[in-house]
């Protein structure tokens, strides 16, 4: 299976690589220290059109396929994870609900400003009492006249402090829950009762600012239900569709990170001399590099196969989960080996592998933990 991007996309991928090397590499330490992605990087991402890669052109996006977006994410993920996090909510879970199930008015109203990067989107599903079991949410939405009043607390919400538009999952029927009792709302920043709470200091992905989002009698008009009033109770399905696609695109990023980690290890192994020769000449080091290269290749094959199927409209939930679980665990092994090859140097903050190692750990948890992915895969294996 050979996947060849178009000549134009190739040129664009080169441009992104140049952007990452010229603009992002010099500020990697600054991002780690300040916990913030500098404004000029975000502006650059806007100018490149990266906030609406798969958004259809009629809504101001680039209208690319999932496979094309994966290639872009691989390039963009050769630096701090927080850089890719800037664009992934707008491209993914923060806009896909509106794109998949929204009304035409909602698409016209929200998608162009998300695709241009003028506004940022967040996706608010997780709560203190509902992580892997997303159906256990306790945030409620109750109809009050022509408005719905939302009450509850979401947490770990990526990009929330910067976001202007939130996709919020709330309980509208406590009995039905995931089966017709959860509704997806669009809540705009500035709506009374919407408060950004604590910003969490995470181990990695520093700069993506996961935060608490609190709703205190936050009233939104009925037209803000994704898909309109007829979609009351259908929000869980909308969320799951968005998350499924995200598993593929998230895996693309993991490949970008892993390739960077391998390159760092290779370059270091070639120049680090111990016992009178470059450490790369020891079989112990060579095997680590070989195993990493092999696992990256396997992940790439899984990714492009699954992405092509998603683009073709096939329902391949299990394959998306397999790709995600394999790629995220691959990434942790590759960054671990790479840090090991760096010896003590790799354990020091100035070394990019140090933050790569921490960034990597997140991917076995977010957007469905490894255990949840295996649950989905096993269900598929056992179904016949």
């Amino acid at each position: 299976m050979v996947f060849e991007p178009s000549a134009e996309l190739k040129q664009f991928l080169e441009t992104i690589r140049k952007f990452v090397e010229k603009e992002c590499y010099p500020v990697e330490m600054e991002i780690e220290e300040k916990g913030e992605v500098p404004e000029h990087i975000i502006k650059g991402l806007c100018q490149l059109g990266l906030f609406g890669v798969t958004t259809p052109t009629e809504y101001g996006g680039l209208g690319l396929s999932i496979i094309d977006y994966c290639l872009i994410l691989i390039e963009l993920s050769r630096t701090n994870a927080a850089v890719r996090s800037q664009i992934t909510t707008n491209n993914g879970v923060g806009s896909k609900g509106i794109l998949f199930d929204g009304t035409e008015e909602q698409k016209k109203k929200y998608l162009p400003s998300l695709a241009s990067g003028e506004k940022m989107a967040s996706f608010a599903l997780t709560e203190p009492g509902a992580g892997s079991d997303a159906s256990a949410i306790s945030t409620t939405a109750v109809k009050k006249g022509s408005n719905w009043a939302i009450n509850g607390t979401k947490y770990f919400i990526t990009n929330a402090p910067r976001a202007s538009i939130f996709t919020v999952l709330a309980l509208t029927d406590k009995e039905k829950r995931a089966r017709g009792g959860i509704t997806a709302f669009i809540v705009e920043k500035g709506t009374p009762g919407l408060v950004i709470g604590k910003i969490f200091k995470a181990m990695g992905n520093v700069g993506s600012k996961p935060a608490e989002v609190i709703f205190e009698d936050c009233q939104v008009p009925e037209e803000n239900i994704i898909g309109g009033p007829k979609m009351v109770g259908q929000g869980f399905r909308t969320a799951m569709k968005s998350l499924n696609e995200a598993r593929i695109t998230l895996s693309a990023s993991m490949i970008g990170f892993a390739e960077r980690a391998l390159k760092l290890a290779r370059d270091y192994a070639k120049i680090r001399v111990q016992f009178g020769k470059p450490i790369a000449e020891n079989q112990a080091i060579q095997w680590m590099l070989a195993d990493s290269a092999t696992e990256i290749y396997a992940s790439r094959c899984m990714l492009f196969d699954a992405a092509a199927r998603v683009d073709a409209g096939q329902k391949v939930d299990a394959m998306c989960s397999m790709t995600k679980v394999f790629a995220s665990e691959m990434l942790c092994r590759v960054t671990d080996r790479s840090l090991q090859i760096h010896g003590g140097t790799g354990y020091i903050k100035e070394s990019p592998i140090e933050h790569l190692y921490r960034d990597a750990r997140m991917f076995r948890i977010v957007e469905g933990t490894s255990e949840i992915q295996r649950m989905i895969i096993a269900r598929d294996v056992l179904k016949d």
Binding site: E8, Q11, F12, T15, G44, Q47, L48, G49, L62, L64
Partner: protein, 265 residues
């Protein structure tokens, strides 16, 4: 305004240069080709002037082999309007003089109000073509410019450049003129994907010497005033020496070596 930008395709700055066995040039296989970084400033500046002055156009002109088309397309993707490539086997081996002659010839009929270029190409580092083009075209020239202001009526340009001691020199030139960009003139933009898509359908022409009305004797290796005899890499730096021992003894040993071995003190 009608703006022309001279652009050269050069090896990526990270390229590991290898010399051909017969020392006649560098090995080009596997080289990644990019736009000369100083020319990026020129393209960017042209685009900024265009954005300020309605109805302006930007044309990219390059002399080089076929592969230069890709780099011209990068300029078109950034926002330039059209491109011209001068490509002819007879141009192989052209020196700065011959190159400038061919570039001037192709620009003559275009009647540009302003010609921008980089202060030098990072491959040969000659920094001569812009000046020679200005001579051939009989235009004023402002070299190594890090700030450029074009007057509202488009008749004059004020050009700033750093000189020794941290001072600035300010030049005023009548347009048309040729201005060569220094680092710091601006921050070049990145080509967006829509820009790259649009670049495909922008006007682009390729011309050879015949079409230019030039003879092979005038340009290319035959017209060159400078012949390259051979290429070689600088001698590899000998590894540094670490002088062991107590600081006082080590310093004494160092001075001894500087005096007796290096003969510099």
């Amino acid at each position: 305004m009608k703006i022309g930008v001279l652009m050269k395709q050069v090896p990526d700055t990270e390229t590991k240069i290898r010399i051909k066995d017969d020392a006649s040039g560098i090995v080009v296989d596997g080289i990644k080709w990019v736009m000369n970084p100083y020319d990026e400033y020129a393209v960017e500046e042209a685009l900024r002037i265009k954005e300020k002055k309605a109805g302006s156009t930007v044309t990219i002109i390059s002399m080089g082999p076929k592969r230069s088309v890709e780099t011209i397309r990068t300029g078109l993707a950034m926002g330039a309007d059209s491109g011209i490539l001068i490509d002819d086997p007879a141009l192989e081996g052209a020196d700065c003089y011959a190159t400038a002659k061919a570039l001037a010839k192709v620009m003559e009929p275009e009647n540009f109000d302003l010609i921008l270029c980089g202060k030098q190409a990072i491959d040969d580092d000659s920094a001569q073509v812009p000046q020679m083009v200005a001579e051939f075209l009989g235009m004023p020239q402002a070299m190594v410019i890090d700030k450029l202001v074009v007057s509202d009526d488009g008749k004059k340009a004020t050009c700033y450049r750093r000189i020794e001691g941290g001072a600035k020199e300010v030049l005023e030139v009548d347009l048309p003129a040729i201005v060569a960009a220094e680092k710091g003139l601006n921050e070049p933009r990145y080509a967006s994907l829509p820009g790259i898509m649009k670049a495909k359908s922008k006007p682009f022409k390729e011309i050879n010497l015949g079409a230019l009305g030039l003879k092979a004797e005038e340009v290319g290796a035959k017209g060159a005033k400078l012949k390259v005899k051979k290429y070689f890499l600088p001698a590899e730096k000998a590894p540094g020496k670490i002088i062991p021992g107590e600081p006082e003894d080590a310093a004494r040993a160092l001075v001894k070596m500087l005096r007796e071995e290096a003969k510099v003190v």
